[in-house]
Symmetry: C2
Subunit: 399 residues, 2 copies
Amino acid sequence: MIAFSDAYNLVLSYSQNYGEENVSLKKAVGRVLAEDIHADRDFPPFDRATKDGIAINYDAIENGRKSFNIKAVIAAGQKTYPFLEQENCVEIMTGAVVPIEADTVVMYEDIGVEHEIATINTLAKRGQNIHYKGSDQKKGELVLNKDTRITAAEIGVLASVGKATVKVKKLPGIAVISTGNELVEVEEHPLPHQIRKSNSYTLYAALQKENIEPLLLHLSDDKDMIRQKLSYVIQEMDVVLMSGGVSKGKFDFIPKVLGELGVKNVFHGVLQRPGKPFWFGMHEDSNTVIFSFPGNPISTFANYYIYFKPWLLHSLGLPLPEVEVSLEEPISIKGSLTRFLGVKTRWENGILKARFVKDNGSGDLTSLARSDGFIKLIPREQPYNTDEKVSFISTRTLV
Amino acid sequence: MIAFSDAYNLVLSYSQNYGEENVSLKKAVGRVLAEDIHADRDFPPFDRATKDGIAINYDAIENGRKSFNIKAVIAAGQKTYPFLEQENCVEIMTGAVVPIEADTVVMYEDIGVEHEIATINTLAKRGQNIHYKGSDQKKGELVLNKDTRITAAEIGVLASVGKATVKVKKLPGIAVISTGNELVEVEEHPLPHQIRKSNSYTLYAALQKENIEPLLLHLSDDKDMIRQKLSYVIQEMDVVLMSGGVSKGKFDFIPKVLGELGVKNVFHGVLQRPGKPFWFGMHEDSNTVIFSFPGNPISTFANYYIYFKPWLLHSLGLPLPEVEVSLEEPISIKGSLTRFLGVKTRWENGILKARFVKDNGSGDLTSLARSDGFIKLIPREQPYNTDEKVSFISTRTLV
């Protein structure tokens, strides 16, 4: 049995790099950039009108001119007008290229037009309503860093610089394994002594949020079958997430079989609640990482977020979130275990406040559905006080 | 031109209900429940051992007994042992059914076994290590509410109660339309007066996060083609998200065509920056809602999160998040426009702090990639102060 912080650091020390792959831009959201992205041209690529109106040379205004002959209408996506003289102007649309001799755009609202002559009826400022070439980025400039999570904002930048395919971090192939003869499928009517699988579906859903579609497998309490299936997934997958089968019961063959298959037991058992009988191992030959969570649904759920998710973020080169919440009530914890308590949060005045969600410590799944995440409480003599800030592990999107 | 709060309330007043549909449990994550979920049996469904050990009747201990004949080994998923007498016990595994005559489980760590006789060597407590039938939920009890966003935690509950298919809110069918002859595809090499499409991809990515796969269309500045395509999408889709084409230029046919097609213009222009020339309309006959955003990438991006996302959440029956952040520096805003400023956030002591991200007000997409969202600043004479709490609209997952 090891301390929580040791277990946590050990798990992170087994982070892996799964390399890179190219995906189309439309599939890139949620993934992690595996390349620096540079501007492939100046942005904007030309002096761009930001209003609809007329383009003129401001020198003309300084020379006392107010009226201009309209020589052309330049729409966005057209070549611009060449050789604009000072007495002339072009009508220009938002997004169009400002003629080289022009330096000022006056909006339609500020001009009158009669007989192809535009007359300016307000004060203009030199350079107004033009977004100058290269003023956002120069060609070659770094616009996105490697190791960035791609959201809608990054997709816009990638599209602008022509990245129809993007190099992203490869995600690990994951097997989710349920164990236990008491488990039946969701669509079945369980007998009185049976229950339906839930941990596999919970892990499946959590992994979907990470763009991972895991392989789902079930192991009955049959040692030969367990050996055969585990041997297969250790060879074929990068990560195994298991629930159940690692306590001390007569039918808990799994730790033994994992050992026989050459999986190194990094640790078994952590001074924490829930999730104490967590088994973590590594198959060095095939580079497979094995998270074997206790079968209790709250334990599996908590350990996924406590250990697996930081491990995944770290493996992908992403920073680990460090969020604190403010307690709405005092909490006393007894004993020497690091505790993870389900909490419901709410915002008040820019502060994320957390209130303990009652569960009976038993594996009541609805308590998870009533929680937004877990607070982490390190054992100590004095109670945790109201308004004290404690570490928070989110299990749903709050902001 | 209308005030921001009027525009916002008008948009929300056009929220729609798109009905319900059944999806498989594996596709339900991220969707919104359209039914209340009740326990289909007691949870747990039987008196369940929570430790591996022996099951006994505590009366025997009160009568002075310490040793028990082992009559059987009950694994999880097996029928339990009938008619357990006081001098006997069964070995029982975690998850197995405790015999009806037993009321206490003593773990292996606290017993010795010799010649099929188990001897207890610690103090036991009546009822320990048993998770009693129905102690989490009674059959028929409400376990999940309608109008709940389904996350991994809800998936676990749904699996437990046998919901292999789940009734969820239907999502609107959405067309994302780019406009403007200056736009070319991402994979093309634009001519000097052209730029690549980015708004469509940004909206596409943002909608993917909502489980929506939109139809992507492009409109060139050709009135007949615009009429033909818009007429189709208004008939076939529930929502149209458009970018560009609604300012006052000579080639901005779209508002006119929308009018000819029977779309009611609810408003055009909002006293806000960015995103002022926002056009919002409704085709009453076909119940199609039209968000026509200005073409500037920052305007489209901001208005998606300012208007469309709350509209979508409201349409799905979800609460609208109300998050405030604490300013890291004072900000003065001038004029009468409601301002939305890109900010980078960080956590400090349970408080989400925000620092203004510089952009040149031009449509610089990289400023969005450097931001976590927008703060909303209502116009006022005094500057906003350091540590003042202001409303925040998140554009990426922060917690």
